[in-house]
């Protein structure tokens, strides 16, 4: 996973720190961090990324809205997207799948779980 670029979207400063550390541990050296969906789209600026990791509950534009928007943008229609969230109901998971999410992780999670999902999505 070295040399891969990831867009990482999370409104909690604590979780941004924890997940960014986990992403570095599994080999992502280039991490674009954003606080919400609007911030994420601004920071992307049309740049290519290999992966998007996003929270769901965020102000201004939540994760579900961000995923929907990205899937409608040609450069990001096929990019792998993993959602990491506290939302643990089956309806939430199905909604995310229908929007085009490729992986779904419930908080709290271990680095091993993140690594497994990353392998499943990127390999």
């Amino acid at each position: 996973m070295a040399d891969k670029k990831v867009l990482f979207v999370e409104d909690s400063p604590t979780m941004r720190r924890i997940i960014a550390n986990s992403l570095r541990q599994v080999g992502f050296n280039e991490i674009i961090e954003a606080e919400n969906g609007v911030d994420a789209l601004e920071k992307l600026e049309g740049r290519q990324v290999n992966l998007v990791v996003t929270d769901w509950n965020m102000p201004e534009m939540n994760g579900a809205e961000l995923v929907k928007t990205l899937r409608e943008m040609p450069p990001y229609a096929e990019v792998p997207i993993i959602m990491i969230t506290t939302r643990g109901m089956q309806d939430d998971v199905i909604t995310a799948m229908k929007l085009g999410v490729n992986g779904y992780i419930i908080k709290p999670f271990t680095p091993e779980i993140l690594q497994d999902k990353l392998r499943a999505v990127l390999d």
Binding site: S12, P13, T14, M15, I18, G88, Q90, Y104, T110, A120
Partner: protein, 200 residues
């Protein structure tokens, strides 16, 4: 749930006695008053002084936000130390030649990772606190409207006015009631079930 006769419950019963209900609507209104009778002590538990609820609710919301800020600050402090220790351990591991010593150090490095994982509680708690704050704010809005309605009636109805004046005089901090009601959702999905949906 333990019931107590507090000034709010007594006020509700006094108001109820003013009305004579028709046969069709009576059962619904009986249920409504029963619901309010049960609800008021629970709200009093949230903020002690129901008569000062509109003043106390913002304090409750502020306390929740304050607890969240303190928890976040503490979490960042812990993370600073964990990251420093992890860097130090990684350096020691890379220079350590003795296998057993190296293995022990790697065990400690693993523990640092577990601490970091456990710190996710702060985000999860923060979201729950945020939901609680929204509920408190919504209850405040609803209660303000309810008391406005009662005061409007009191301007035209002497009996209601007397009840409200008695209530204001009687309200005290002793109306808080303990409740053991909890709401538990048992329909959450597991990570294995999610993986199955994605075919992993």
């Amino acid at each position: 749930m333990v019931e107590q006769q507090g000034p709010v419950v007594k006020t509700l019963k006094d108001i109820k006695s003013l009305f004579e209900f028709g046969d069709e609507i009576a059962p619904f209104l009986e249920e409504l008053f029963a619901f309010l009778t049960d609800l008021m002590p629970i709200l009093a538990k949230a903020n002690h002084l129901l008569g000062d609820t509109t003043a106390s609710m913002p304090a409750a919301s502020e306390n929740i936000a304050s607890a969240d800020t303190i928890a976040e600050s503490a979490t960042h402090t812990i993370m600073d130390h964990v990251e420093e220790l992890t860097t130090g351990l990684d350096d020691l591991i890379s220079t350590q030649k003795e296998a057993q010593c190296k293995a022990e150090l790697q065990k400690f490095a693993g523990k640092m990772g577990e601490i970091q994982t456990a710190l996710q509680f702060q985000d999860i708690t923060s979201q729950h606190l945020s939901q609680a704050t929204q509920i408190v704010a919504a209850i405040q809005v609803r209660m303000e409207k309810m008391f406005e309605s009662l005061q409007t009636i009191g301007e035209k109805n002497e009996a209601v006015k007397v009840i409200l004046e008695n209530y204001a005089a009687d309200i005290s901090s002793d109306e808080a009631i303990s409740t053991e009601d909890t709401i538990r959702r048992d329909d959450a999905i597991s990570q294995d079930e999610i993986d199955a949906l994605f075919g992993n």
